[in-house]
Chain length 124, copies 3
């Protein structure tokens, strides 16, 4: 196995969690909007853009998404989620997706747990 | 690595998500009952049967389940879940299982995120 | 691939779930506090200690954690979670972490879904 498969690669410099963990060829990460002052549309837009940024960072792209687990603070935001989601995903290369309502941190409307195939060695 | 390990295999033809994604030898998918008009017992029964169908589709079986994350709309349904679950799983080949209450889509009583070892190349 | 990568290893003797499932070099498991009579601080302390015990059992350690998905019965317990978490994790070797509020079983304040790289063959 090459390094991408056998080593744990961690990105980010938080003291509480890694931004991304890559192991066995799979990258996993959690996204919440960087700016929590906006409404659900703003936060979901941010989170999807942040996922794109992370995909570039790990040498992958959104045709290589595997699994997306979405927590919404209010399930009524599923409609706007779906609108933004449908314009974001790549038809023919869709991840699996679960979406549930759960309690999130103060002001947070959406939290997404993502996994993607890490295509090539990342540039930390 | 053979194809099962190195390629992303996606099943299903929804425009919003894949029914199943297989990568690195592991299949992942999300199940909700196809008929959401029934009660929790009906929906859980359906979902477990649907998981069986998917396992066959990917060339696996329920002795190769790895992880099951269950979202119930009402935790009081855990009792019927456990009754049906105990008759469904294979003793000696049990997955790990988490079960929590979360808000689900309209009429949906249960949503399950599953992973299983994909034993052999699937027949898409 | 060696046995750690290609076989499904299951630990525990419950009739309902495995305590740990190892496949493809990754161990996955779910922890709730063994003693549910205590408050959130007690239960979170127990769960983190139980994770340590499981890590030893599978020949890993908490520098090899990959992903931690935390369900709190009450999000107000996030503060004590973070206090205990910060003293538990290994700086520089942090997992990704998601934390949401969800309904849990009677008396249960915290349920954690964990994955870690299984460094060496476990001793079942």
């Amino acid at each position: 196995m090459d390094k991408l498969m056998s080593e744990i690669i961690r990105l980010g410099n938080s003291r509480r969690w890694s931004d991304v963990v890559i192991y066995g060829g799979i990258a996993r990460w959690v996204e919440v909007a960087e700016d929590l002052s906006g409404d659900a549309r703003s936060q979901i837009t941010q989170v999807l853009e942040q996922i794109n940024t992370t995909l570039v960072q790990i040498g992958s792209d959104n045709a290589r998404l595997l699994e997306v687990l979405i927590f919404l603070a209010d399930f009524r935001d599923a409609e706007v989620l779906n609108e933004l989601w449908d314009n974001w995903v790549q038809p023919g290369n869709l991840p699996i997706r679960a979406c549930v309502q759960a309690g999130l941190g103060a002001g947070c409307r959406v939290e997404i747990l993502v996994s993607a195939a890490a295509a090539s060695p990342p540039n930390p």
